[in-house]
């Protein structure tokens, strides 16, 4: 049986760990922060760059690079906002971190704040995550009580505050500029880019928005020999461990911490314990509902950013959704499309009209009103959303539609085939 590689989950996998500050400190916590306070901010960014860590939120953008883009000398404060609005269907990794080991994430956030010179970090938590919000708030209180937050933590002279802000349950607020709008108290609508948040973000100030898991990696990366170790966890350009949210028709669904060079097949059959009820695999949605679907024949591939990209799909937020041979793919696509139609913010035309229209077409299939013409139309409407919208939600809605129609056309035809 394959083993997990424990970096982020080293405490969580310890049954005796009680997520208190003292327990976290006992496990070696806040050593990295202490080390970081002795470094220059630029050196921290350089270390993060060298580690090669790529953002775990879905886009896979190198974090060190993102931080180095932060506008300097503007005379405005900088902000670091942790994106904990984890709403991509299938993803549940950040919840684990925030719920079971909030201090690791908060230490990462503090390291990030120091690296980009931010004196007030924000955590934008998904509104539905009540236990996580409670856990984070308790952890932040502990840190203030201990003097690790507030004025002059650890005698570093670097004042730092952290605010936990809860969202109101909109998927679109996971998009960084919509998140910032929402954080400012406006409607969560994605903004026009450029200017990117690194130039004009929260309240018009330079802002970096980072995923929770990305920030949680920071204590390890900036620990002793962290950069080298981190690099060794995966192939080139795909360094580090990552949390895989495995769900669907497997025997042991859950969040697993894996290296980046694990085969997808092994994830399904060894970590996941195979398909439940001894059924055969039909397909996998590899990176959250927005990633193009893979058929059973395609899953023999290393589960990382680049190898999946070569297969024409994406790792996204590392959320694998496995479905077995009995699954009705059209119903599955209908559910996904319904989600995007509901969550589209509605400001730009192709996504507002396209998500709803494609949902109506798929519903036609389910009602027995499908036709070859409608299948073509579905593909066309989906395609028309691709790359034409302001933010990535249009793409996110288009990719499953196009890939399902391409890879499972027979499933659609079943609904209108004349016998």
């Amino acid at each position: 049986m394959a083993e997990e590689t424990l970096v982020l989950f080293k405490n969580i996998r310890n049954p005796k760990y009680d997520k208190s500050l003292s327990a976290y400190k006992k496990s070696g916590g806040f050593k990295s922060l202490k080390k970081v306070f002795g470094m220059k901010p630029d050196e921290v960014v350089q270390e993060v760059k060298e580690s090669g860590i790529r953002g775990r939120g879905g886009a896979g953008f190198p974090t060190g690079l993102k931080w180095s883009f932060m506008a300097k000398g503007t005379g405005k404060p900088s902000y670091l906002v942790a994106n904990a609005d984890e709403s991509e269907p299938g993803t549940c990794k950040d919840r684990e971190l925030m719920l079971k080991d909030p201090h690791m994430f908060l230490e990462g956030l503090m390291i990030g704040c120091y690296a980009i010179g931010c004196h007030h970090g924000y955590v934008y938590v998904r509104g539905e995550y009540f236990p996580s919000i409670k856990s984070l708030n308790e952890a932040v209180d502990e840190l203030y009580a201990d003097g690790l937050l507030g004025l002059d933590p650890m005698g570093s002279g670097f004042n730092l505050d952290i605010t936990i802000h809860t969202g109101a349950g909109a998927y679109i607020c996971g998009e960084e500029s919509a998140l910032l709008d929402s954080l400012e108290g406006k409607r969560g609508h994605p903004r026009v880019k450029p200017p990117f948040p690194a130039v004009s973000g929260f309240n018009g100030c330079p802002t970096s928005v980072n995923n929770v898991e990305t920030l949680a990696c920071m204590p390890f990366i900036l620990g002793d020999n962290g950069v080298e170790d981190f690099k060794n966890f995966g192939p080139q350009n795909n360094s580090g461990t990552h949390l895989v949210s495995l769900s669907g028709h497997v025997n042991r669904p859950g969040v697993y911490e894996l290296r980046m060079d694990v085969n997808m097949k092994d994830i399904i059959y060894e970590f996941g314990g195979g398909i439940r009820n001894g059924k055969k695999l039909k397909g996998v949605i590899p990176g959250g509902s927005s990633s193009p679907v893979m058929t059973a024949d395609e899953v023999d591939v290393l589960y990382n950013f680049d190898d999946l990209a070569k297969k024409g799909t994406m790792m996204g937020s590392s959320a694998m959704m496995v479905f077995d041979e009995d699954t009705d793919v059209v119903k599955l696509l209908h559910r996904i499309t319904r989600f995007y139609a509901h969550e589209s913010c509605g400001q730009c035309t192709p996504c507002r009209e396209g998500t709803h229209w494609s949902r109506q077409i798929i519903r036609d299939f389910l009602n027995g009103n499908g036709s070859e013409e409608k299948l073509l139309r579905l593909n066309r409407v989906g395609g028309n959303m691709m790359g034409t919208t302001l933010c990535a939600l249009g793409d996110a809605a288009a990719m499953p539609i196009q890939s399902f129609v391409k890879k499972f056309p027979e499933e659609f035809r079943k609904y209108y085939a004349t016998v």
Binding site: A170, I172, R187, V192, P194, A341, H342, E343, S344, C345, G346, Q347, C348, T349, P350, R352, E353, G354, T355, H356, W357, Q360, D364, R377, N384, G387, T388, T389, L390
Partner: protein, 551 residues
């Protein structure tokens, strides 16, 4: 920055044509300035860029660094850069626009036959250009329904294409924030907050900027199809701001005023009160239809010749001294008319007893530009009177002294000092009162001769606004048959009194004025016709009092 020969600003290339841009300017804005047409809905030069309608897609074949953009770009949000090459007409762009247009029409009711926007609707225009003529949408359309949002504009939300211009207008232009976007996804719609009616004084602009028929002016609804309207440039005479407008009319009836862009005056906007001034232009009941003379105490219709000769005869008999002559005018009169009236007094009677009301007036001070469009001075040409050094104010001692004299001849232009009963009582006793005007009022009741003038929509003229900018109006509609423009009446009158100056047009009078009046020197009629021009020699005290805006 390398500059191309013959250009003062950096340039980029649109469809093989070099276009100048200011650093930081977007492709769309630079293109529109040069007369290139790129279809767009959500973009408005006066408001923030949201890039949401996705209609202004262009193909950037070279981003200025030799590389093409990976996909079609929205021209409204992409910065123009040196050496950039943009194609707006290639098949890829047409395809992109086609699909955006298809999406927009999916839930649009297509009720053009009963929609007032029809004919001036950009969605209609681009649907003709890029639409397929056949819908693949088999499902029932979204229905949001109409909303009653106040007295000035009507909101029919089914036609809305969610461009958010109206929302941004109340947030960024008026700052009143009473309008907003509600719901999300395909149910996204516009409405006022908490069912309250709209309160701002500029709601008509929301109908102007709405690219479709979702917001229309209640005043204009169901009256005329937009394509039947003929348009003439003019100036709003509602107050001394002098907003540029187009008078839109059909069959000699005026239907509405629309703002005309002038960056130095009103930008793109016009207040609701100004829009409603069109009503008086169609007024016939109280109009003076023809010259009138008092015969045995009653006003009766006479011919122009009779009127002129009667006045000449009477003036000859009276042989008035300079101090026994008085002219009163309001500041609705154009610069030319004021000039000719002043000249008539000077030439015939060697008198400068000419007065107009010039009370102090208030101007809002506001962080929102649009609030400065409304002033409490509801006359269009106060600054013109000041530039001609016409004395003013009912309370001024000079006027009081002037009416104490034994008055023999009084000319009244328009409706000055309407509320000053004392002044009117005094003037009633004068031997000859001549009234020039367009509407019957208390002056025409006491006048011996009434000369029928024309309203500003019917004649040419120039007005000087509060910033002392001289602007011209055009003839929009045909005047009543037996009326004449005031400048012509004053010219003829002075000819019949023995001091003839012949001018062929209002422009001719203007040219004479530029030669004779120092304030107007160095202006030419051709120069002021498009966007107006400020006086070279300004009056220092305009009577303005700055107050805080009420919002």
């Amino acid at each position: 920055m390398p500059l191309f020969k013959g250009f003062n600003m950096p340039v980029f290339d649109i469809d093989g044509e070099l276009v100048e841009y200011e650093p930081g300017e977007k492709i769309l804005s630079a293109a529109l300035r040069c007369g290139k047409i790129i279809p767009h809905y959500c973009y408005h030069p006066g408001m923030s860029i949201v890039a949401t309608c996705r209609m202004c897609l262009v193909d950037v074949v070279d981003m200025g660094n030799g590389r093409p953009a990976p996909k079609l770009q929205t021209a409204c949000s992409m910065d123009a850069t040196e050496g950039m090459k943009v194609e707006t007409l290639n098949p890829k762009v047409e395809e992109g626009r086609k699909l955006v247009n298809e999406f927009l029409l999916v839930n649009h009711p297509l009720d053009c036959p009963i929609c007032d926007q029809s004919g001036e609707c950009t969605l209609q225009d681009y649907a003709f250009e890029y639409g397929s003529g056949k819908s693949e949408m088999d499902y029932s359309k979204r229905v949001s329904g109409w909303r009653d949002i106040g007295s000035f504009v009507a909101l029919e939300r089914n036609r809305c294409i969610q461009c958010s211009r109206c929302d941004r207008f109340t947030r960024e232009i008026t700052g009143t924030n009473e309008f907003g976007m509600f719901n999300r996804g395909h149910e996204l719609t516009v409405d006022t907050y908490a069912d309250r009616p709209m309160t701002n004084k500029f709601q008509g602009n929301m109908a102007d900027i709405c690219p479709v028929g979702a917001i229309t002016e209640k005043e204009f609804r169901f009256k005329r199809r937009a394509w039947k309207l003929k348009k003439n440039r003019s100036i709003c005479t509602g107050c001394s701001t002098g907003c540029n407008v187009t008078i839109e009319h059909d069959r000699n009836e005026i239907f509405r005023l629309k703002p005309h862009e002038n960056q130095s005056v009103n930008k793109w906007w016009l207040c609701d009160e100004g829009r409603l001034t069109y009503r008086i232009m169609n007024e016939r009941k109280t109009r003076i239809h023809q010259p009138l003379g008092r015969v045995e105490g009653k006003l009766e219709g006479i011919s122009w010749e009779e009127a002129y000769s009667a006045i000449a005869e009477r003036v000859g008999d009276l042989s008035a001294l300079p101090e026994e002559v008085l002219a009163l005018t309001d500041t609705h009169a154009s610069n030319e008319e004021l000039f000719l009236l002043q000249k008539l007094l000077k030439d015939i009677f060697s008198s400068d007893n000419i007065f107009c009301p010039l009370p102090t007036w208030e101007q809002s001070e506001s962080e929102f530009f649009i609030n400065t469009l409304i002033t409490t001075d509801n006359t269009p040409n106060r600054a013109g009177a000041l530039a001609l050094k016409i004395k003013g104010d009912a309370k001024s001692t000079k006027l009081k002294k002037a009416i104490e004299n034994e008055l023999k001849v009084v000319f009244v232009l328009g409706n000055p000092f309407e509320a000053e009963v004392e002044v009117q009582e005094k003037i009633k006793r004068a031997q000859l009162v001549v009234h020039l005007g367009t509407f019957h009022n208390s002056w025409s009741e006491i006048a011996d001769v009434v000369l029928s003038g024309q309203y500003y929509s019917e004649k040419e003229g120039t007005f000087t606004n509060k910033d002392q900018r001289v602007q011209a109006t055009e003839i929009a509609v045909k005047a009543l048959r037996r009326t004449r423009p005031e400048w012509q009446i004053l010219m003829d009158l002075s000819a019949s009194l023995g001091h003839g100056n012949s001018y062929s047009s209002s422009a001719d009078v203007f040219n004479a004025m530029t030669e004779q009046v120092k304030s107007f020197a160095d202006l030419s009629y051709a120069e002021i016709r498009l966007f107006g021009k400020e006086l070279n020699h300004k009056t220092k005290d305009s009577g303005m009092k700055v107050v805080k805006a009420h919002t």
